[in-house]
């Protein structure tokens, strides 16, 4: 699956699997960041009031900013098939076309459409032909997926829509600036030639805020690596060309379906690397890409060292402290690995789902980091059971619990510091530059504690009677 030679010296990691009774966001939440990322898209979530209620509350103030998303709220007639799905969807999509005129409508299938077996994949091509707007179907439902995996299902569907060179030429007679850039390496200008080294076309996948995209692209450019496109781009109409033999790399740990689709359907080669989270991760990510392209990385060691130096004040705060990941967004392994490098001990890595193949680079890097830092490799608990975890937390009394909002306030009231995990999904955490932002988040409860430590009110509940 991966191309580079594996590091096999690290000790084995212990994996466990619990009951799956844990709290996380529904994967339809991905519309919140994807509609902002893909500027000409419209997301239509086909579900019930429950889905709508979740989105409305989880997205907070965003909901008032005329978002380019809506619910197709199923009524009793839809459930009992008294209404024809095709006609109903056509009516709504016509309305969306009229009001917003998007370049793509993304249908998000939900639990309900799964259960009543609404054939979204079947209806979409017909309707697409009729209304003249591409319709991408992603089944981001709570029956199968957790939180960030929603993005994975959307990007996997989009991967199938990425043009080939032939299609792209056909669509765009006069290639614009971006197109020129995309086509580079095939037949195009020589003057950039010296900036980049010779390597096969290379596309990155994963939705990141634009400043982070620019940042990572420039980091690779410093190594002479040219990023020929991102899945997704800022606009649906700018999806990158993907052809057989292209190289691809993921920027986030939850993109395993997208990776699989790119490999199997688009015949790309996946570079399996650790993820560019933390300066250690970013360096390992770049090095792995370089190694695949046979490029000798320049100045990475110094760059990493310099970043660490700038982080020193935050590292001092957390060194030697313990952290417990309850698990809800699949960033857990990468974050744990970075925090171990910062000198923390990780007591447990809870994670909704563990793709050991897609995350192999990251898992190996975790083991290696633990070895180098002289700490025990934490157990990775897949599909955790929140109740059991709370018992373990009570026992272990970690210095920091990274958890969802359902548990954060109750834990704080019991004197356990928490960091709300969802913030890691929305903050900019990738690349060298953003390493400080991760620690900003991680240290916030600890800094708050330092400010309040003499007040004597860290525990704010009456002692629970043991039943």
């Amino acid at each position: 699956m991966t191309l580079a030679q594996e590091n096999t010296t690290a000790p084995a990691i212990n994996f466990e699997c619990e009951t799956g009774n844990y709290h996380t966001f529904c994967p339809i939440s991905c519309v919140a960041w994807l509609y902002q990322k893909i500027e000409d898209s419209f997301f239509l979530v086909i579900g019930t009031k429950t889905c709508g209620y979740f989105l409305q509350n989880a997205m907070g103030v965003m909901i008032f900013a005329e978002p380019r998303y809506a619910m197709a709220e199923l009524e009793e007639g839809d459930i009992s098939a008294q209404l024809k799905d095709y006609n109903e969807l056509k009516r709504l999509c016509d309305q969306i076309k009229r009001d917003r005129n998007p370049s793509v409508i993304v249908w998000i299938g939900t639990c309900t459409t799964e259960i009543i077996k609404m054939d979204l994949e079947g209806i979409a091509p017909k309707l697409e032909a009729e209304i003249g707007i591409p319709i991408v179907v992603a089944r981001a439902n709570g029956l199968d997926y957790a939180f960030t995996q929603g993005e994975d299902t959307v990007l996997a569907s989009m991967a199938n829509r990425c043009p080939t060179k032939a299609e792209n030429k056909e669509n765009k007679q006069e290639p614009n600036g971006i197109q020129k850039l995309l086509n580079f390496g095939k037949k195009q200008p020589e003057k950039i030639e010296n900036e980049y080294k010779e390597h096969p076309p290379f596309v990155l996948f994963g939705s990141l805020p634009d400043p982070v995209v620019t940042n990572l692209t420039l980091e690779l450019k410093k190594q002479g690596i040219k990023v020929d496109g991102w899945l997704p781009e800022k606009r649906y109409t700018e999806l990158p060309v993907i052809e057989e033999g292209y190289y691809v790399a993921g920027v986030n740990p939850f993109l395993s379906r997208t990776a699989t689709t790119l490999m199997r359907r688009r015949k790309c080669k996946l570079i399996g690397a650790p993820f560019p989270i933390g300066p250690d991760g970013t360096r390992a990510w770049i090095e792995k890409i370089c190694s695949v392209f046979g490029i000798k990385p320049q100045g990475l060691e110094e760059r990493e060292a310099q970043i660490w130096e700038n982080l020193q004040d935050y590292v001092d705060l957390i060194k030697g402290k313990s952290v417990f990941f309850m698990g809800d967004n699949l960033l857990e392994v990468s974050l744990a690995r970075f925090l171990i490098r910062c000198g923390m001990t990780v007591q447990e890595i809870g994670i909704p789902y563990m793709d050991k193949r897609y995350q192999k680079g990251e898992l190996d890097f975790l083991a290696q980091t633990c070895q180098e830092m002289g700490v025990k490799i934490p157990t990775i608990v897949e599909k955790p059971d929140n109740y059991n975890q709370l018992q373990r937390i009570k026992e272990l009394q970690p210095d920091l619990v990274i958890t969802g909002m359902a548990h954060a306030n109750p834990l704080e009231a019991r004197g356990i510091s928490t960091k709300w995990s969802v913030e890691f999904t929305f903050a900019q955490i990738h690349g060298f530059t953003n390493a400080r932002d991760i620690l900003e988040l991680v240290t916030r409860p600890l800094r708050r504690n330092n400010n309040l430590k003499d007040l004597g009110w860290s525990k704010l509940i009456k002692e629970e009677a043991k039943v």
């Binding site: 529904c26 009031k49 197709a72 309305q95 359902a406 306030n409 039943v467």
Partner: protein
């Protein structure tokens, strides 16, 4: 299928969970896919709850879809029974489980065999009821269950308490200012010499429910929650109820007089008239406020009211009857209880709007251009966009609507809070007046001519200058009205004369 961007009332299971988690030592288990336990986040965040929300999910995943839940739900119930020993476990269906059509009642019966606590299936259909209706039904269901249980065991206490006493029904978690209202009602009852028998569902235990019949009467502060329970108790135990929301000076007095009537009928000798007068004149500042010159400046100002039945109806009456404000539109999203709302407000407002579509309300507000809006968080944002102030009076609400400070909407302190809310929402009277005389704070506008750039009509220099003197928050409206007037009459240029003519004609 319905295209929807926003909803006022949540799905049914939210109502059931609000009831279950309001009680002490009651646990709810949702039969739901991963991610549907968002209720826990809301309760933990909005109410800043220190305790873990007693709601867990029995996860519906792919396997359940293929093979059915089988033992899973039962195991989860029995496990929770052992872990936390709740008095009651409420199995809560969601939209997903509704269409799976598994025999949840059968799971409940089987789980009951191995559980020490009681187990019950919440009887709510997801596609027929919303959050509010489901909450009302679930509360009634739980009350009925424990009354019948006590009747069977023979330890129900139907003897009335020696002194007049009351059950307060309808205080629940995630309710709009419910905890403050509860405190205010307790104080009011104490002032009236009425003992509190039981408050439900808030912090009550299910064991206490069998004492409900001891109270002389039931008080229902909110239209949406408790009616089914009160009606049940009335038929079972001939227990009367008072369902007048004590919100606003007039309605609070009416509520108290009704209580007096109920108690007198039961043989108590009570006369609350002196109390009402004292409170009205000296404790509540609201009556005095309505006489003061501040409130005079609000006379005839236009307002739009929208919310749930209880708050929108009460607010409309307060604005019109107690402050002389002109409510041009009163609306509710409680479509299922539409008739009640129409009866309550029809004589107080120009128009009534019953709708669950936020777009419809937004458009109405834009059309009517009120001076202030009293609505939900959605209307607050509409107001922001249109530059119209808004006071939030009903759910859906955000974290800032769960204040730490004491902010009841009910009772005499409630009248004070509402007065502040109303007064602060309208631009302060004198300031408004002075701005009109002196042409506003934003004198920068006078030297820019950009204001008319987006219109096809030409404003001459003098007229433009005059327009710039109009205070910022009504300037757009004056401009639109003047231009409409000019267009209607075929003027191409707007002069001072046209402006004045427009003002005289349409009050621009």
């Amino acid at each position: 299928m319905k295209l929807a961007y926003w909803m006022y009332a949540g799905p049914a299971h939210i109502g059931t969970l609000r009831i279950a988690s309001s009680f002490k030592n009651v646990h709810a288990i949702m039969h739901a896919p991963l991610g549907d336990d968002y209720f826990n986040v809301m309760r933990s965040m909005l109410e800043r709850e220190r305790d873990f929300t007693p709601v867990t999910a029995s996860i519906v995943d792919r396997n359940v879809l293929a093979r059915g839940s089988q033992e899973k739900v039962i195991d989860n119930i029995v496990r929770k029974d052992q872990e936390e020993s709740p008095d009651l476990i409420v199995l809560t269906p969601t939209c997903t489980s509704s269409i799976l059509q598994e025999d949840l009642q059968n799971f409940v019966s089987r789980a009951q065999l191995n559980s020490k606590g009681d187990v019950m299936l919440a009887d709510v259909n997801h596609y027929r009821y919303n959050e509010l209706q489901a909450a009302d039904r679930t509360l009634a269901q739980i009350v009925k269950f424990y009354i019948e249980k006590a009747q069977k065991k023979g330890d129900i206490s139907t003897t009335r308490t020696p002194h007049p006493s009351v059950n307060i029904i309808g205080i629940s978690t995630l309710g709009f200012h419910n905890h403050h209202d509860c405190r205010e009602l307790k104080k009011l009852m104490a002032d009236l010499g009425i003992e509190i028998n039981l408050i439900i569902p808030d912090k009550a235990t299910v064991e206490e429910l069998k004492t409900l019949p001891q109270a002389w009467f039931n008080l229902l502060p909110y239209r949406e929650l408790g009616l089914a329970t009160a009606e049940y108790l009335q038929t079972q135990f001939d227990q009367p109820f008072v369902d007048i929301t004590p919100m606003g000076v007039v309605e609070t007095a009416r509520c108290i007089r009704k209580i007096q009537e109920v108690l007198t009928a039961k043989g108590a000798e009570v006369d609350y008239e002196d109390f009402i007068e004292h409170q009205t004149l000296y404790v509540s500042e609201s009556a005095w406020f309505s006489r003061s010159i501040d409130c005079q400046n609000l006379t005839g100002k236009k307002a739009v009211v929208f919310g749930d039945n209880t708050h929108a109806a009460s607010m409309t009456k307060i604005l019109v009857r107690e402050m002389g404000i002109n409510v041009v539109l009163a609306g509710t999203y409680c479509k299922y209880d539409e008739d009640w709302f129409r009866r309550e407000v029809s004589e107080y407002c120009d128009n009534i709007l019953v709708s669950e579509d936020n777009g419809e309300i937004g458009d109405a507000i834009a059309r009517l251009e009120p001076s202030a809006i009293f609505g939900t968080q959605m209307e607050r944002h509409v107001g922001k966009r249109l530059n119209i102030p808004c006071g939030v009076i009903a759910a859906p609400i955000h974290i800032q609507n769960f204040p730490i400070g004491y902010r009841p909407f009910l009772g005499y302190e409630g009248t004070n809070q509402i007065t502040d809310l109303i007064y602060n929402s309208f631009t302060l009277g004198m300031e408004d007046h002075l701005l009109e005389i002196f042409g506003g704070h934003d004198t920068k506008e006078v030297i820019t001519k950009g204001i008319s750039a987006d219109s096809d009509l030409f404003w001459d220099k003098e007229a433009q200058g005059e327009l710039n003197k109009v205070p910022g928050f009504v300037r757009g409206k004056v401009k639109r009205n003047t231009e409409k007037f000019a267009r209607d009459r075929g003027f191409e240029q707007i002069t001072l004369e046209v402006m004045y003519a427009a003002k005289e004609a349409v009050g621009a």
